[in-house]
Symmetry: C2
Subunit: 150 residues, 2 copies
């Protein structure tokens, strides 16, 4: 059985994106909630505290139906789309970053300009990242750890 | 089969400690490496960014053989020992915190004075916490994420 039969298309791509990010020294976390009502596909924390957000889009309709992505820009230093080779990249805004990949890996085709977070926002995102990742890990080992992630 | 047959005594206690911490709003992470050569049993990140370290000691010899614990004080706002009811608590330094527990839970018997980290140290520990937790989680889902935790 292929893993593709058990993961949604966006999550297959997120796996390749995670490999790309870790090869660049970034620690990836999927399904991060930066604020109530927002959930990003992948957030990544770099070796110097850099914060990237990557939205994985499996199809044109997956992109056009996303009403929230501009809200993600406030929570990262750099924002990327990640798509597979069949995606019509011309419909994506040109100032965001672009990763091309599949379930096995990804590469950065366009590195966006950095728009650094304020120190206070960076601190809040890093703390939220740390707590959500640790709680998710703790719950895998012990379902009785029941503090809400957010 | 009891879980106690598959976990070392300190790790059994760490599970109860994790439950106690999460009930207080803290996200626990086991086996955190704050700096090369140091590894703490449990670190926890509070809702306001507070950083606690908890060392789990299963026996007198487990405590007396620990040459490194004073080095942990530099990496947290509050430091606790966690022991089970059979432990001779009179041998523990009285200015550290004390948790009493088992594999199912724990409670704080003595809350230590806070010795707040500097802002720079807190930032570094929080970033390290976030990266180590996320990488461990990512590797559970994908063994090909192979960035070193530290």
């Amino acid at each position: 059985m292929s893993y593709k039969t058990t993961l949604a298309p966006g999550m297959v791509l997120a796996r390749g994106v995670g490999r790309c990010l870790s090869s660049l020294g970034f620690a990836p976390l999927t399904e991060f909630v930066p604020a109530r009502g927002l959930r990003v596909d992948v957030i990544a924390l770099g070796p110097k505290g850099e914060i990237w957000v990557i939205e994985c889009k499996s199809s044109r309709s997956d992109f056009t139906s996303d009403q929230k992505w501009q809200g993600y820009l406030d929570w990262c230093d750099r924002f990327f789309w990640a798509v597979d080779p069949s995606f019509p990249t011309e419909i994506l805004p040109g100032d965001a970053g672009l990763m091309l990949g599949d379930g096995y890996g990804a590469e950065i085709l366009r590195m966006p300009e950095a728009a650094p977070l304020t120190a206070a926002r960076r601190k809040a995102v890093t703390q939220g990242f740390a707590r959500q990742a640790a709680l998710r890990l703790a719950r895998l080992h012990d379902p009785n750890v029941n503090l809400a992630e957010f």
